[in-house]
Symmetry: C4
Subunit: 213 residues, 4 copies
């Protein structure tokens, strides 16, 4: 057995990563079970498919959002040296928050087309959308405070990520606040924040002479 | 191929851990499919969401409980040197018992608000809640009796865990017995036992001169 | 990169094992979604639970059977040196056959209590129960014919497994044939075959001087 | 820590493979939940099973198709040296496209038996069937353009795969176009393309003196 700089409940991050990947894999696949088979409308199956468009759009949105969260989890696992009990519990909060994001997608799309409830639907959607980014930020703050990150990473790089994650969480809640005043503006703003996840994360910067490899 | 101190059906614990993680990942994510889309109540979507509060609470409770079981599984895998057929079968019992815990959550929350059936709902809930801790204890007794644990761990440490796991299982059944007399007291007692899982497990203690690293 | 005695589509068995574990983890957990919340019968929740007994029994049976298949997969992975395309495809057949086993459990339990359809329910159950053992045997024959097994294993040991797996598959189909004549006898016979999986598999026997470790 | 030729968001392919395997494992198992328990038809359970034949056929088709995609993913992971953010996002597109393939299977089988909507059902089926092959091709083009593949692989081998994947994707869309004219011919053509996946992929060819092992 190799030497082990971890103690107590600390372990290398790979097992949390595996669990996390499994939860996200299920969360990204489950929305498919929400899709209904089309019922021919007045004898037309094509019209039946058209009527299901909000479901298809909701499925697409779920997959894109959970997929982006997975891609960023995939990256961030590289930055950790170890995980502990507190980090694991915060991760469960994050994963539960992501798993629930597909839930308010369909009401949002169904109510988009103009009824009086679309503001409520939008607010619920935005509240649920802001949760994962908030858990992510809380987990990161915990990881840096407990020094769970790779000790070779430059402090400036860690600080930059802290700012980035904080700003993202804040931006979701700003979108929520905006939606109290104008729900369309709020949804658009949150959409832009989510889209920013498509940008690849910045390359890790290591302390002088300590980059791996 | 490295030397292999295991024989017969014995293997290193990593594959059981992977299977176990996968089952818990699914068990923690599946309750999301039980959430219904809100129906506007008398034209109000907000009222529709309010009416679903027992569902949301049940989902939250499921996630917290399964998440805590995962976090402790994550820790305990570190204590094993190997697993065998009997340990695998006991693990399946444990996993099935955890998977079923979300099931009686919703009836409990729905009946909380005063109808005559809440005592039955509470007893079912408590019976199901006590099962995973009981399987966990049985599996641990088996692991120590069959010497599947890391041989470097101190005997006092192993004994301490045996006592802890036994007391936890017993406490759940005491809560069940209490509920026969007063169901509120029983549910509160079981809640306190579950909350005790938030406390991180004690650091492993190794025999003199045998700590890894 | 280490030297690699595999070529073409051959890979070490670990990735097939991971996929296989994931499928079995899902298959063992999904039946929980089939459990219905109890409806109070004539105002009694306890009676509602009693009425769901066939569901609970079906869930239990599913978990036990899939769990045993997992435990044996867990063991057999140890016997392989590599996997190839054909072995992967046969594994998918095996996994699909296992995934579908929970399906006829409930009809069987519901019809047990005496109606005219219980013979049909029993035959469907037995046909589905025999499939995984048959795929398992086919896959094993393929693995030995293509020399995918660990080359250090003794030929007598491999032959013994071939006989064991062949007899098990045959025993399921004998139970099916028996059920054509007397369905109770058929179900009991198949139950005994399934229970035989509780016995741990025999320790691997290696060629002289080639045992690992 | 070993030397690490990857930087930025690049990681070894194993974690993407694990995520990918998990998604495919779920996608292949979920269709089982779509199977309904048979209802005795005019008192006959056997007739009830017969009526469910389109469901059984749809389940079988889903399992075979997703299983084949998994087997090819299993192979292709061997060809990569690393993955990056863009490759991960394209993989999510591929996985979502595969997850959704079981969806139009049942309408196809239900409408096969002659009603006026079978052409629409066939076109939807073919559009959904062509998507995974198209994402697969796009991902491969990206991987070769970004040099994510194992640098020891011969250029001729990579080019041969590019042609193979491109032709497969094109063949699906040709089947779609054919179905606009004659839906039966289109479905048969797509079936032949899917069946071609049963053929094992060609053995990797390495540059002179660079084959692993």
């Amino acid at each position: 057995m190799a030497t082990d700089p971890r103690n107590g409940t600390e372990r290398t991050p790979d097992r949390l990563e595996a669990f996390s990947d499994a939860v996200l894999a299920i969360a990204i696949t489950l929305p498919v079970t929400e899709l209904h088979a089309p019922e021919p409308e007045h004898g037309s199956l094509a019209a039946g498919h058209l009527k299901l468009m909000p479901e298809y759009a909701a499925y697409l949105l779920s997959v894109v959002l959970i997929g982006l969260y997975w891609a960023h989890s995939h990256f961030s696992g590289k930055l950790l040296q170890k995980t502990d009990h507190g980090y694991n519990l915060l991760s469960i909060g994050f994963l539960a928050a992501v798993s629930i994001t597909p839930f308010p997608d369909r009401p949002l799309f169904e109510h988009l087309a103009g009824d009086a409830e679309r503001r409520t639907a939008a607010l619920v959607y935005l509240g649920v959308a802001g949760a994962p980014a908030t858990w992510w930020f809380a987990r990161w703050i915990y990881a840096t405070a407990r020094r769970l990150t790779d000790p070779r990473l430059a402090e400036t790089y860690l600080r930059r990520l802290t700012i980035k994650y904080g700003v993202t969480a804040l931006a979701y809640w700003a979108a929520f606040a905006l939606a109290l005043w104008n729900w369309v503006a709020g949804v658009v703003a949150a959409g832009i924040v989510s889209l920013s996840y498509v940008v690849p994360p910045a390359k890790p910067i290591y302390k002088l002479g300590q980059q791996p490899g």
